[in-house]
Amino acid sequence: MRILVIEDQAKTAKFLKKGLGEAGLVVDVAGDGLKGLHLAQELEFDLVILDVMLPSLDGWQVLTRLRQAGRQAPVLFLTARDAVHERVRGFELGADDYLVKPFAFSELLARVRSLLRRTAPPRPQECLKIADLEIDLLRQRATRAGQRLELTTKEFLLLSLLARHTGEVLSRTLIAEAVWDMNFDSDTNVVDVNVRRLRSKADDPFPLKLIRTVRGAGYVLEAGQ
């Protein structure tokens, strides 16, 4: 998977390249709108991450010209402004997603993955298996080492969310949104409380700990380090 990052802030571009590279993606960086547009037209990219405020050509113009040139790669906008009309404008021009600075890198990674998956064929899943954890999505049942876990509906949702994204750090905001449909990012320590309760049922009684806290970022479920 190859990604183009068009971003004039050197620091931002650097950490994006590093983080996305470490997540297994190939990243090219362009420092201004014109160079970015050239690169996007020369090469095939699976995703373009585009800053709105750019020298030479701004993000809107880059997007417009890209679509005019027939490039259909998904575009994720990054911006420091988040007025609703700007968001709407981005989507009207053909952007696929939108992220407001400052953002959590885990959040960006999750969105990038979801955009890349959109282009790849979805695979139907009925069962998830991570180490000794088994989740039956159809019957809404989870077991560890063959032992049935007594979970509430929300706890089951939380566990299966983490399991579906095994190895990915999920931010508290994303978790609150996916499990409780809470679309605001205040008071996210409520998520901590709920994860702790899930852990007391799904992790604490077992020697192998699956759910790990990533300080300042969120939670990840993985078989081992």
């Binding site: 007025a83 809470m182 679309n183 205040s186 409520v190 702790r196 300080r215 300042g216």
Partner: protein
Amino acid sequence: MSWKPASSVVPGSRLWGTLAFRLTAWFALAGLFLVFCATASLYLVLLTELERSTDLFLTDKLHVLRTLLRERPNDWDALREEVELESAARRYEHFYIRLLDERNTPLLTTPGMAEQLDLAHFASRTQSRPERAIPMWGRHGQAFRVTSAAAPVGSPPTQTDTIQIAIDVSHGEELLAHYRLWFWCVLLGTFAIFPLAGYQIARRGIRPVEEVAATARRISSNNLRERILPEGYPFELASLAGTFNDMLDRLEESFNRISRFSADIAHDLRTPVNNIRGEAEVALARARTIDEYRDTLESCLEEAVRLSELIGNLLFLARAESPLAHLNRERVDVAELLGGVREYYEGSAADGGISLSTTAGAEPVIAELDRTLVQRAVGNLVSNAVAHTPPGGSVVLAAKAKGATICIEVSDTGVGIPPEALPRVFDRFFRVDASRSQASGGTGLGLAIVQGIMLLHGGNAEIASRPGQGTRVTLRMPVSGSG
């Protein structure tokens, strides 16, 4: 009369635009009109009174002559005395009498009458209107009033004579001319004096307004404390000054609020930035283990997240106050929304030993709201309630519809808020107990955001609290955006 064009004589609309000029113009116009009416009516009264006294005199003379002719038809001496001598004895207001017989032959004439008057003209003018006094000009340009009448002679009358009487009224005319001159002088004087006096009066009346304006000009953000002294002004302007001062009070209050707000922002931004900077500096001061670096980085990340949340909240508040703020309204089942919020906070409540429940009315409460924003408002309230309720307490969410308004209530049995702090709890960065809230990670913006969301929905938030017994926050908003 040429005072009327006062307004059209004005060179431009600029002058007409000044209040002093308008007042002066109206004052002068009204004054001139009144003086004109007064003098004109006095003149008319004088004129009619003069004519009436002349006419009475003529009637009187006629009566005397008729009586003489009837009672003593052949007493020529008496008649002559009456016609010739009496008139000659007068210095002013000479009158002339002529007696004619049936065949219009003059019998007796006051000497000099023919010199003064065109007698043929006299006869022809008075013939059609007997016994009525009419004005006539003499041969030398003097004004006369003349009359003629038939006088029966003898008793019983056997024949008819004609009496012609003319009286010189030029003296009265002089008097009237004198009056007319005075009249014009008075009008001219009025025309000169009224605008000047009016202007002075207008200036005097407007001066307090100018003083108020001058004070207003002096006031800027640096001296918002300055006020207009309400003493010494007439009642209307005192109330204007009072209104103005009230406005300044409100301005000063919101200005202070904003300054306080800026200071609070600076303080709240400074703390996490300071932590990031200090931790990074200390970490870099010498070589450390990987675990130590990781710990530092993680701590920095936490501070950065705190900063991001703070910035996000501040931006949200700024946008909520913008007139361009946009709501994403949709049909929302409020009871269901409350249920969702309850589920989210259930874990935290259970951890704190608090019962968290929703009570729903008999009917579903449906409204057009921005789901995310209302969720956020209720979430903030529940979060506060759970944080400030001791174990064993309870937090209850309730929704009901009252006509076109829906009501969401979040009540707890928590520690409550002291009465003196209640009016300020919706202020940004206000914390009832600064040290404790800081430690629990609150930004002090939660309730400000709740209020911002209610304002966006055209509703309001109210808080009632008793220390030691609990707090109840009520959110009220219209069922739909259009209403």
